[in-house]
């Protein structure tokens, strides 16, 4: 009974903490949007061309009223928050569509890319990272380290353009104007995989090396335990916790969308939506996006905590 109460209390306190974080994040982003230069009503009227002068101030005021921007900041935020409680994230200033449907339309392409990229990244990085650690300073390690260094150094826009040029223009394997489907997904996924696997391989290598230098490994070797058994039964298990944390961070970043890659490959994901919305100061779409990213990170944090406590019961006790 006591244990049950403790669990309920912990869940309740986690939810409360999450709620405070969500309110804090959305408040700060709303504040930043209001403090940033530009006026969404003017942008709507002028097309964001900076030719503010051709519109009279009366017209701008009337447009502000239509958009609800004439009210004080706190009232605007309060009204938005109230709507959010009922599952309504407001309407986009630019398209007039509900923000929920704008996000829904863009979330699936981003989720597709995020999970496929992450799956392939893990498939590549974990074995390579282990290989590098086991064969430290040998040719395999040196080669993979050089390649991953290159992968990390290349900016995503450059990798994207090179892939586009090579596979679409020179080899004609994929179309430049791709649809949001499996074929259109290949190149953006490749860019993410190059970037993420380059980093993760090095991270896996580092953590495995750290584990291999632990006392328990030396003890097991002294006891004559097989090297493969030490690696797969003990080292990997202990290395999984930091690896999972990194993977969750990558997943969070990928689920937030990647504006540059999505723009180059015309992939209608969340990152592209966020950039378009920021350019036109589409307050409610940006707020919806911020809320989504915050929720993703909170959920991933929670998930990683649960998985880590499954792997290592000491975490559960903490």
């Amino acid at each position: 009974m006591k244990k049950r109460n403790r669990v309920i209390k912990k869940i309740f306190s986690s939810l409360l903490q999450s709620l405070i974080v969500l309110i804090g994040i959305t408040f700060i982003s709303f504040l930043i949007l209001h403090l940033s230069p530009g006026n969404p009503a003017e942008i709507w009227l002028t097309g964001g061309d900076g030719n503010v002068g051709q519109i009279s101030q009366e017209a701008v005021k009337a447009q502000e009223e239509k958009m609800g921007l004439d009210k004080p900041f706190l009232i605007q935020y309060g009204m938005w928050l109230k709507k959010v409680c009922y599952g309504d994230l407001g309407e986009s200033f630019t398209t007039g569509q509900p923000v929920v449907s704008e996000l829904q339309r863009r979330v699936m392409p981003t989720i597709m890319i995020a999970f496929v990229s992450l799956f392939l990244t893990m498939l590549i990085s974990v074995p390579l990272g282990i290989g590098c650690a086991v064969y430290k300073d040998r040719w395999l390690d040196n080669m993979i380290r050089s390649v991953s260094f290159l992968g990390i150094s290349l900016p995503t826009f450059f990798t994207s353009l090179v892939l586009l040029w090579l596979f679409c223009l020179k080899l004609s394997i994929f179309p430049v104007i791709a649809d949001t489907d499996v074929k259109g997904m290949v190149l953006p996924v490749a860019v993410f995989v190059i970037q993420c696997s380059s980093r993760l391989t090095r991270q896996v290598r580092a953590v495995i090396l750290e584990q291999l230098n632990q006392e328990y490994v030396k003890g097991a070797v002294a006891r004559g335990v097989k090297k493969s058994r030490i690696l797969f039964s003990h080292v990997l298990k202990n290395a999984m916790i930091p690896v999972l944390t990194w993977v969750s961070i990558y997943l969070g970043i990928l689920l937030g969308g990647a504006a540059v890659v999505e723009t180059i490959f015309s992939w209608d994901g969340l990152g592209k939506l966020a950039v378009e919305s920021v350019a036109r100061l589409d307050y409610f779409v940006i707020q919806g996006f911020v809320l989504w990213v915050a929720l993703i990170f909170l959920a991933l944090n929670f998930l990683v905590d649960v998985i880590c406590s499954m792997i290592d019961p000491r975490i559960k006790q903490d």
Partner: protein, 521 residues
């Protein structure tokens, strides 16, 4: 533990398969249709970096896009010299200073077969006015009376630019009583009607066979949005796109050298690279400094070398090809030595030997702001900075995403922006907002009472010849003042596959696809 890991992996795999599965099923979009049609080439594929936020012409600036897509049309249309010519209207005559009588064509039908009448035009404008305040700042409508094909419009004040404003796409006509969502399927009078549309994405249009101007030659078209300019160029190179709009000047060379495969066509419009000077700055107040700045700009090189021919130099302020353009007026020539002499005459010298001229112990040090979304602007500013250094003026360039705040606060000494100076071909618009003392876009507070008086005359003058003459006088006075600098006017450039024919380039940014465009097999 093992079971948990297996479950976790299975979950991950399911999400993965679900994700890819959804993508595969959701991929049957307009893009597919275009590819399928590639063999027959009866549909053209267009690509642009920009797009509307919906197809409702009343929203924001979407009307420019619906006009370019051949969906909506206006009562008047701009010709090659940006002169408004009757289009959906047969004529528009002024009854008195505030009354205009518009006679509409009798043979125009909407894409649903309904006839366009004065009543439908009235209803459309009433709706647009309710949604977009900009319409009223174009036409200043007080009341409208519809009778058959005759529409009588009373304006709230004398509007000499009324006829030219009838060519602004926001005044475009749609059947507001037609079924369906205007944001997705507006029913216009144009040669093409929308079939499918993804918000801020692909649009597919098909020909309207009963189009009043004759059946369009093209069966349909697909408009793609490729936000990245490099990817846009590659889509054109790979042959996926028949026509690309907004290809950056730096990529044009790729296409110009292969004229068997591509056709690069562009004509200068009225979008000028305008330099606003802030008269609150003590140096800018001195005509010697203003003239010296003007004399240090080699407009020819800016247009032909820096901008790789994607713009043309401006003799004075308005585009040279227009009747009121400045080609026959006196202009300030590029002359660095002359600029140095002028500054010397103005009492400036390098007394401390730091390479920068000074007067009363103060160096001529100026800040120039611009934005990065028009790639040529930062390049021009950097070049200006380098040339001004040669004549002893220090110019610090600041590049922003937007200069809207600086426009409001006046926090700049010089500001270069890209400005459509005569969107409907009328000179009064830019004169009113930029040259007039209290003009809403007179960001640098330029003021000349003679210019103000001439603009007042222009605002009440209906005779086109007299308007042209007045505009030339205004322009010359500003040039004499070195009050504004227009470096050049951008070309509206299309890169086309050589099989795309019939497309007429126009200096206005309003038009693209029309009934005459076709693909040669």
């Amino acid at each position: 533990m093992k079971n948990r890991m297996i479950k976790l992996t299975a979950l991950l795999m399911s999400v993965l398969l679900l994700g890819t599965g959804c993508g595969a099923s959701g991929g049957d979009t307009a893009g597919d249709t275009a590819v399928k049609e590639e063999g027959t080439k009866e549909k053209a594929v267009f690509a642009d970096t920009q797009c509307p936020t919906s197809l409702d012409l009343a929203d924001s600036w979407n009307s420019w896009y619906t006009s370019r897509y051949g969906i909506t049309e206006t009562l008047f249309k701009l010709d090659d010299t940006l002169t408004a010519q009757p289009f959906l209207a047969e004529s528009c005559e002024m009854q008195d200073d505030t009354t205009w009588v518009i006679k509409l064509r009798d043979d125009v039908t909407f894409q649903n077969g309904n006839k366009m009448t004065a009543e439908t035009v009235k209803k459309c404008w009433e709706r647009t006015m309710e949604i977009n305040a900009r319409l009223n700042e174009l036409l200043f409508i007080d009341s409208m009376q519809a009778d058959g094909q005759t529409l009588t419009v009373k304006t709230t004040k004398a509007v000499p630019s009324f006829i030219t404003s009838l060519s602004e796409p926001l005044t475009g006509i749609i059947d507001v009583e037609a079924d369906g969502d205007i944001a997705e399927k507006p029913v216009g009078t144009g040669p093409f009607m929308p079939v499918s549309y993804e918000v801020k994405g692909t649009l597919e249009v098909e020909q309207y066979t009963d189009y009043w101007g004759g059946t369009p030659k093209l069966e349909g078209a697909v408009f793609h949005v490729i936000a990245d300019a490099n990817a846009l160029a590659m889509a054109q190179q790979s042959g996926e796109s028949d026509l690309s709009v907004s290809i950056p000047a730096t990529s044009l060379e790729l296409f110009e050298k292969d004229d068997a495969k591509y056709n690069v066509d562009g004509v200068a419009g009225s979008r000028g690279q305008v330099i606003f000077m802030n008269y609150d700055n003590e140096f800018i107040q001195d005509i010697h400094v203003r003239k010296a700045i003007s004399m240090s700009i080699d407009k020819e090189s800016y247009a032909n070398v820096l901008n790789k021919g994607a713009s043309v130099p401006a003799s004075q302020l308005y585009p040279d090809f227009m009747a009121f353009g400045g080609s026959d007026g006196e202009c300030i020539e590029y002359d660095l030595n002359g600029a140095k002499e002028l500054l010397k005459e103005g009492g400036y010298s390098d007394s401390d030997g730091d390479g920068i001229l000074d007067k009363d112990g103060k160096n001529i040090s100026l800040r120039m702001v611009t934005y990065s979304t028009k790639a040529e602007l930062p390049n021009f500013c950097e070049e200006m900075s380098s040339k001004l250094k040669e004549i002893g003026i220090d110019l610090q360039v600041e590049v922003y995403e937007s200069v809207a705040e600086q426009q409001k606060s006046g926090d700049f000494d010089l500001m270069m922006i890209s400005f459509t100076m005569t969107p409907t071909g009328d000179p009064g618009y830019f004169a009113d907002i930029a040259f007039k003392t209290d003009g809403s876009s007179n960001y640098g507070h330029y003021s000349n009472t003679e210019v103000d008086a001439l603009i007042d005359q222009l605002d009440s003058e209906f005779d086109q010849e007299k308007r042209t003459e007045l505009t030339k006088q205004i322009q010359q006075k500003i040039i004499d003042d070195a009050g504004y600098i227009v470096v050049g006017h951008s070309k509206y450039i299309y890169v086309m596959g050589s099989s795309l024919k019939g497309l007429k380039t126009n200096p206005s940014e309003y038009y693209l696809l029309d009934a005459e465009v076709y693909i040669q097999k």
